[in-house]
Symmetry: D4
Subunit: 211 residues, 8 copies
């Protein structure tokens, strides 16, 4: 994307020694490094070869920052429903931040108590791109997209049980929203939502320069 | 339920002559008669043996009223999202009416333009029971249930396409709602929603008398 | 709902320290507190900050009662099929009780031995609202709804194996019942059933007063 | 099975001329002939080459009887729920009859009005094998199997809509029944149920002779 | 069924102390007792209150025999595909035996090496009822039913991976078999297959007496 | 969005007279009008009240342009796989055009002959936003997203048969892409893809002005 | 593949004039032409521009042969279960023939009467590659693959009803076969099976030359 | 297949002592032995009775080579997408090798960075048969099959999360590929892919000899 744009490792399904091998190679370059879906145990091991590595437990992210990356002028808002969606919301917010994006958060604004969302319309109005993270039935995405005319990236989470079928309920909600302007990513894919946001914001930053 | 409570025929999958035979039998009694899922052709034929029969095309209902049924004191509100949900919403509203219930309608208040719903909170506040009818992703049910502390009966409709899978998306939404207080009926089952509402309102009318 | 109506925490997917933080905040108020889907370990920890907390192991509920809540005149009946459905049935019954509702139980009346149910029709006749909890194929809901003209709230449970698909079989049964008057909640959602019952009974109590 | 046991043609997915060709071949033998899933149009054409052919419209069966087949001593009972299940129930009953089995029918005894079934226990008690045909949620099979200690063959029908998913709801019900002693066949497979019954009754007739 | 017919406990989803309580009650009677889906740990505990209890590890069954039950004249054959299906095949065979049925076994005759099955047709010919147990794609049931004119009870097992979807592949195979005469039970339900077989064989034994 | 931004009618599931009524209302304003999922018959009727209406048969769109809308500086590229995907691709391209966006098309570049896509990288490089429309297995979206660092909006189409399950195969492909930067819309939702693109391009145009 | 290898048009989802346009272009070359999924009406129209076109109704194929293509030494066997699978089996056999392959047919050898297959082992033994076409439960593929050590290409067909789910049952059977050596193609994809066979046989013909 | 062709044990779902018993029997013969889906613990135990056994951890294979098997002239290429697919890719490559096939590997050529695949076309061109192993959306199979005219065996892996549904996404992709010439095996079935490849290569080796 820009200077400082990190290299990314997806740790799920890789052994610690595999991740270590990939990272050792990456550490020879000057890029920042972002490792997603990383357990605390993996972090302990990574720390031995990269002492400056920082761990975000809730988001299961390891970050190694070699170069400070200037934040974009364009702003991303991450909106989420309940406490249980925080892991995914933070994966999105911290990834976006690592990708150099200015990020704001509006958490705990689920539709069961819609007045909290309606009382914070300023957040929605000031953002250029919005990521909505929601589990259960995922109705938050529809409500947010109905309130704004901006790109809304919707992340269904696997939070729920029974006929939720591991996030399927929220996924179908987001794909079938009666409000237009929503692009959906995979269940629990906070990383992917942030990455998609970054491709939009890269275009925005270019447009600012080009005029 | 009460005096005037109609007998009901479910016409889907029955031939015209089968419906006619059942109705001929019923017409010997004094009960009102309600026929659901009735085509216009069926109505033409029914009219021959029951000249006072009335047809509600959108709701696909035939009604034969022999005895005027006094309306309940308790009030049912039928809320719906889009124009395409009207057939099911009207099946619910007219069935409830035929069951002797006082019915109000609040239509075209989908979450894509949530201010229309929020601008009509009086309707929600004055009802004893609410039926929400919604297709696509069915988020309306969650929003309504989040706004009130009353029984909400949710009817998913088969309105939509693609990953809607014939109403599955809205059904899962309603079963997984983050707002509590929702009882769900089958996809497109406006009749069933009205019937469930009538069992609640029967209890309410009794409670009024008993104190 | 009424005085004494508890605040509720859904513990699944929250860490013990998150639950503790939320509870500490709640304990500053005078409300009763109900925590659902709580493990025994969580209870041990909660006990440290709320020594009067009571734990219902089978139902996985923690209750903290600060104010005694008077029971309603209206009566809720919780009906269940087999021993394995008890966890969900008790989640419903104890939640309803915590919400201030007069609750009766009719357990172990599955359709494999239908005479036990038929021998207890008094229970069904005396209730204002009925919750039926059933796993396997969930036929109990249909049979109960066929016997009464009252609101029946149906809770499918995930009890079963193979083509049960985690409760899907019972869920579909309840949604497609040939007996009308059933409102369905999510698989294993005993809490939601009780909450929906409470919204009905709140209306009943009001109606008693209003006449 | 026995003398007079018919040859069977499954007409779905075959052109009229293909059926005709197969039948012409069969007519050279002395066997009775049974054609399932046959339309009225097909029957008209068959009549030209087999003038004694009889058509059962509801069951979509064509029968050509060359040899009268003596009925078994063992008795099959076909039980069904609603009017809409009649096509499948009759496919089962008439097929069984064509296979030489003594057949009784107990129709319109769905669980929504369970007293009709309970008032006819004699039928259940006098049968050797029972076929239950039910659509919607298919709970009838569970209730019947709970009342008897005989082989129950369950046929789910595709009667229903929405989350019925073409008979899936009834199929899952029957496979997951809390009452044991049920063997399930494919959705709408009245023929297969009758055939399975005939294999049981063939064993019974043999056992009568062997002692 | 007959004298000596055992009482049955389904242990899945019951705690050891719940099973113990039920058994203590049962032990006051003279009936044999059969406990299905029982772990080795459970057996250790049961042994303390019922020292004559026997455990069949592969089939996960506990049996307590108080009265020796005479075997039937009619014969049940249990056929199975691979080694991995043995747990379910033995649940069926041992349950049937506990129900007083004469049982034979024909194991390891999967269709990948069909000559082993074809070389053992005598087994098929001498049985009155056949249970086929098969996982993976479950084709064994079709082949067996194609070879005989007897009731075939088919048990799909959850053996397999990937698109097997926990036994769904074998289940659908058995429901859609091109060979008629198959009654299907739930995935892994060896008990249910044996129980269904026992209802057929009960009829056979009666027929022998009646003539 | 901007001056000239049209009002939109979704015609599926509305009768001709309902569409006419809505349009008559809209025609009183100065806005352009876009009607999606419109049949040729509907167009004939619309023409009577709006003689300047233009019909795009393949895309099933009716457009009524009252005000010429200046095209954006930012560019949208619509990429599609096979001839059968054209209806959806054109729905996207023409909708975007009606929303005032500069649109280019790159059609018939499916992955079965990947060199056609690779020979047209200029198109990809010059666009600000890309919509990929693909049926069958939908792999085109992954390949395109792997080649660029721009927002890719993926539209699965229902083109295919058998295990395609009405577009499910392509939908899952797009949600699970190993290439990041993809936002997915519903199956066949060309309109929604264009609308999402317009929300991004609106931000781009603003950014150009703001700098 | 080789000289004479035809160009292929997949007609489903294309209008007659689109097919005509593509064909007019192709007719300028010397290649043979094969059009799949072609209706009789389409053929009538094609005949006008290509008078030598031949139509195979059952297989829904149009062939235009400009150059006679010499048949391969390697042999393909197409095996099928029932009459209803013929359309797909012929699509495979005729496509393979058009691709220059020596083809044999062994039809009507379903597992319900396995002796017909076992009585024709010579066909299996003399082929280099085998295509098995089967609907219902599709067990034929397992049995064939168990009998030979050759590449078996399995084509599930959509023949069946109820829990067949449009060919899903046969598809899962073939993917989960306990016999190894099976490569599966999409439901009803006779063309694809023939094409895959041709890639194998192309390698065989090359190997014959290379030694 | 040929001299040295190993006997194969599928270890999943077998206890260590069952595997040991089977192996003890096999070790009496001179065949090589291949055990798939074997854990490290199982290997430790096998080593005691077969000290020359070798374990491939990533592929979960145990091999016991008694006779060195000469490699084929025909060549198999195993292509895979990401690091996480290695277990399955190696199961395929090592199995093929144990079956006597000359094997090459082209790993880490996923479509997210398609230039790595395009830069290695020589590998594709020199192979006789190709196995593609891919998880996530599995698009690799389509791209490879689009580039060559050889038999492509596609193995979907269960690598992924959310709407991947345990490999279903990749499976559907491969079955619906717009590129022809693909035979699909079960999810994660590296063994089956290698076995299918060996049946093709056996034919090739024969063809070389026959000419
Ligand atoms: N949580 C995630 N979900 C999906 N894709 C991811 C995730 N994290 C990283 N990725 C993608 O995976 C790539 C790295 O994959 P790998 O080479 O297997 O480590 C990155 O470049 C990202 O595009
Ligand atoms: N639209 C409907 N959907 C579901 N159930 C219905 C509907 N209309 C009527 N019913 C039920 O069907 C019963 C009549 O069924 P039947 O005897 O088959 O006509 C009524 O008593 C209702 O309980
Ligand atoms: N493995 C099993 N699968 C399905 N049903 C079973 C099984 N074992 C026992 N049962 C049934 O469960 C009943 C006992 O259930 P419960 O009262 O819950 O222990 C028995 O009478 C059987 O009908
Ligand atoms: N019946 C069929 N099923 C699947 N793919 C087919 C079929 N017939 C032809 N094809 C493929 O479709 C291609 C032609 O597609 P099209 O260019 O859309 O006509 C051929 O080259 C084949 O690869
Ligand atoms: Mg919006
Ligand atoms: Mg509420
Ligand atoms: Mg009722
Ligand atoms: Mg019984
Ligand atoms: Mg048979
Ligand atoms: Mg990209
Ligand atoms: Mg083989
Ligand atoms: Mg190719």
């Amino acid at each position: 994307l820009r200077n400082g744009f990190p290299e990314v490792i997806y740790c799920a399904g890789k052994t610690a020694s595999e991740v270590e091998a990939i990272m050792t190679e990456m550490l020879k370059q000057d890029n920042n490094i972002l490792a997603t879906r990383a357990s605390k145990e993996l972090y302990q091991q990574v720390k031995k070869i990269a002492p400056t590595a920082v761990y975000y437990e809730r988001a299961r992210l390891i970050m190694i920052e070699k170069e400070v990356i200037a934040k974009t002028k364009s702003k991303l808002l991450v909106v989420s429903g309940g406490t249980s969606d925080l892991a995914v919301a933070e994966e999105a917010a911290l990834t976006a931040s690592a990708l150099g994006i200015k990020v704001e958060r509006l958490y705990d604004v689920g539709v069961a108590g819609i007045h909290r969302l309606l009382g914070n319309l300023d957040y929605l109005n000031e953002a250029n791109v919005i990521i909505t993270v929601a589990g259960m039935e995922g109705a938050l995405a529809s409500v947010v997209a109905g309130l704004v005319d901006k790109p809304v990236i919707a992340v269904p989470t696997s939070v729920g049980y029974g006929s939720n079928f591991g996030g399927l309920a929220a996924l179908l909600t987001m794909l079938n929203s009666c409000a237009s302007g929503i692009g959906v990513v995979n269940i629990d894919n906070g990383f992917g939502a942030a990455y998609l946001a970054s491709t939009i914001i890269l275009q925005l930053e270019k447009a600012r320069k080009e005029g």
